[in-house]
């Protein structure tokens, strides 16, 4: 009996019609009262999505974003009460949204924002120290399997997602023109509680992707070179040590 009432309530607050819930309820101004719950459920979930995707929201505008977020909430309500994990599927909705076909980069920008949130909430771990690389003999380096830090994320895109992200920060008032023909890759890392976004080469992105898949350093470097003949492993590793891309 309680289960039936709760299903009717769920249908009423995720949808737009009171349905059978109205039969269970007593209140003056009945529809307005159910609407209080509907507004809280849809509105609060929309706010969670808005907080996770501020750049996406700025690009499409508040009104359109709010409608999208409500539709997302109704079709993909959370399965977990910790809302820091809610919204992973939102970029896919953007990719499928017909009204957004003129903004083909938007889903990847949203993926970058989601990666940023994941990095922020990821587990702590000590970053890789240079000693590990220095102490490994040159013959053993090829087989060395580095591990990504839990807060490291890689986002690769055929669009200039890093540039779009930068020019849509709150402090930027006049958004400059962006050359949409540039492909960009971003490595995200967290040091001392701050998530850093670092634009990186196609070769370096291939290196990080290969290491994430468990490849040894030799094979990972070969994949990087196949992507980008000018790839320089030594300088890439130096940058990763500074950024904290890998863990000890």
């Amino acid at each position: 009996m309680l289960a039936g009432l709760q299903r009717a309530f769920q249908d009423a607050v995720l949808g737009e019609a009171d349905g059978t819930l109205a039969e269970h309820v007593t209140a003056p101004g009945l529809a307005a009262r159910i609407a209080v719950y509907r507004n809280t459920v849809q509105g609060s979930l929309g706010e969670v999505i808005a907080a996770a995707f501020p750049v996406t929201r700025r690009i499409v505008g508040d009104a359109f974003f709010s409608a999208l977020a409500r539709r997302f909430a109704a079709g993909h309500p959370p399965r977990l009460p910790q809302l820091s994990a809610y919204g992973a599927d939102f970029p896919d909705l953007l990719a499928e949204e017909a009204a957004l076909h003129r903004l083909p980069y938007l889903a990847d920008v949203a993926r970058l924002e989601w990666a940023r949130g994941e990095s922020y909430f990821a587990a702590e771990a000590p970053a890789l120290t240079p000693g590990v690389l220095i102490e490994t003999s040159p013959e053993a380096l090829d087989a060395l399997k580095l591990r990504l830090h839990p807060a490291t994320r890689l986002v690769r895109s055929p669009y200039p997602i890093h540039r779009i992200w930068q020019v849509n920060q709150p402090e930027v008032e006049d958004v400059p023109a962006v050359d949409m023909s540039v492909a960009e890759n971003v490595v995200l890392t967290r040091r001392e509680g701050r998530v850093a976004l670092r634009l990186t080469s196609a070769g370096d992105a291939a290196l990080v992707a290969a290491i994430a898949e468990g490849e040894g350093l030799g094979d990972a470097a070969a994949r990087a070179l196949a992507e980008d003949a000018a790839f320089d492993l030594e300088s890439a590793l130096r940058d990763h040590l500074i950024a904290g891309t890998f863990r000890n």
Partner: protein
């Protein structure tokens, strides 16, 4: 170490006030006697949020207030969620743990609101089973908070205060009495807040919440909304004074979640609650 929550007036720990408390040097006087956090905000694996709480709990008694357990779900509780909460509490060592007389999960979907329940025998049995399950899994007593309500169910057969008394008797849980919620619910659904507060089992009340609400609409559609966005209203202060006169001092929390002002405004509200407790002593 578990720091007990004192019978004094604390504040909800919200951003950015959390940073100020986390950065206080050791040995300086506490800004507030205790703080409360929303448990579900800290179920992440790492990062700055946990680091700030780690610093705050070094100095302050912390109460963990849940919004996601869904004690009123007909389908029972999510064992994985209980396990995550247990893990959090084993680390935070909260002085109090609380949840709500409400539901938010059905069919495994989390609706992110504290939804109302019908006060029936059937529902009391579901609640008693779920509260006992939670207390067993968490290895401790929990306090159950009365929700703010915007409607009632035809099925309901007893007043909310009597329903809460029955759950206390059946499960040994305590109560978190939200005086603003009592006022909001009584105005919205009919009923006397004074009667409600007289009927609540006094010994079970382990904590009190105070918050502000807003008024929406007019006439038939006038409804008080529990927004936690403003000062505690005069009617709620009067009810609080009456409750404290009857119960004596209890841990009291100022909740403010939206349109968050400077921390001083929250501390002024807490000081007003502290004065009322002192005058009743």
């Amino acid at each position: 170490m578990v720091r007990a929550i004192p019978g004094a007036a604390g504040i909800g720990l919200r951003h950015p006030h959390d940073l100020a408390l986390a950065r206080e040097p050791a040995g300086t006087p506490l800004t507030t006697p205790w703080v409360e956090v929303h448990s579900e905000n800290f179920l992440c694996d790492g990062g700055p949020r946990l680091a700030v709480l780690a610093a705050v709990r070094e100095r302050y008694p912390v109460s963990c207030h849940g919004v996601g357990l869904s004690l009123g779900s007909a389908e029972g509780l999510d064992a994985a969620h209980l396990k995550r909460l247990r893990h959090l509490f084993d680390w935070v060592k909260p002085g109090l743990v609380s949840e709500h007389l409400s539901w938010s999960v059905t069919g495994g979907v989390y609706l992110n609101d504290l939804l109302p329940l019908p006060y029936t025998d059937d529902c009391a049995a579901v609640l008693a089973r779920n509260i006992s399950h939670a207390q067993d899994a968490l290895g401790r007593q929990i306090l159950v908070e009365n929700p703010s309500r915007y409607l009632s169910f035809r099925e309901s057969r007893m007043p909310e205060a009597a329903f809460l008394a029955r759950l206390v008797e059946d499960t040994g849980c305590g109560l978190l009495l939200d005086v603003n919620n009592v006022y909001v619910s009584c105005v919205n659904t009919g009923g006397s807040a004074e009667d409600y507060l007289r009927e609540v089992p006094a010994d079970a009340v382990g904590e009190i919440h105070l918050a502000g609400h807003t008024i929406d609409g007019a006439g038939d559609t006038r409804v008080l909304i529990d927004t936690h966005s403003t000062h505690v209203c005069d009617e709620v202060w009067a009810l609080y004074r009456a409750v404290i006169g009857r119960l004596g001092a209890r841990p009291t929390l100022i909740e403010w979640d939206r349109d968050l002002p400077e921390i001083g405004v929250l501390l002024d509200e807490a000081a007003r609650a502290a004065r009322i407790m002192a005058e009743a002593a």
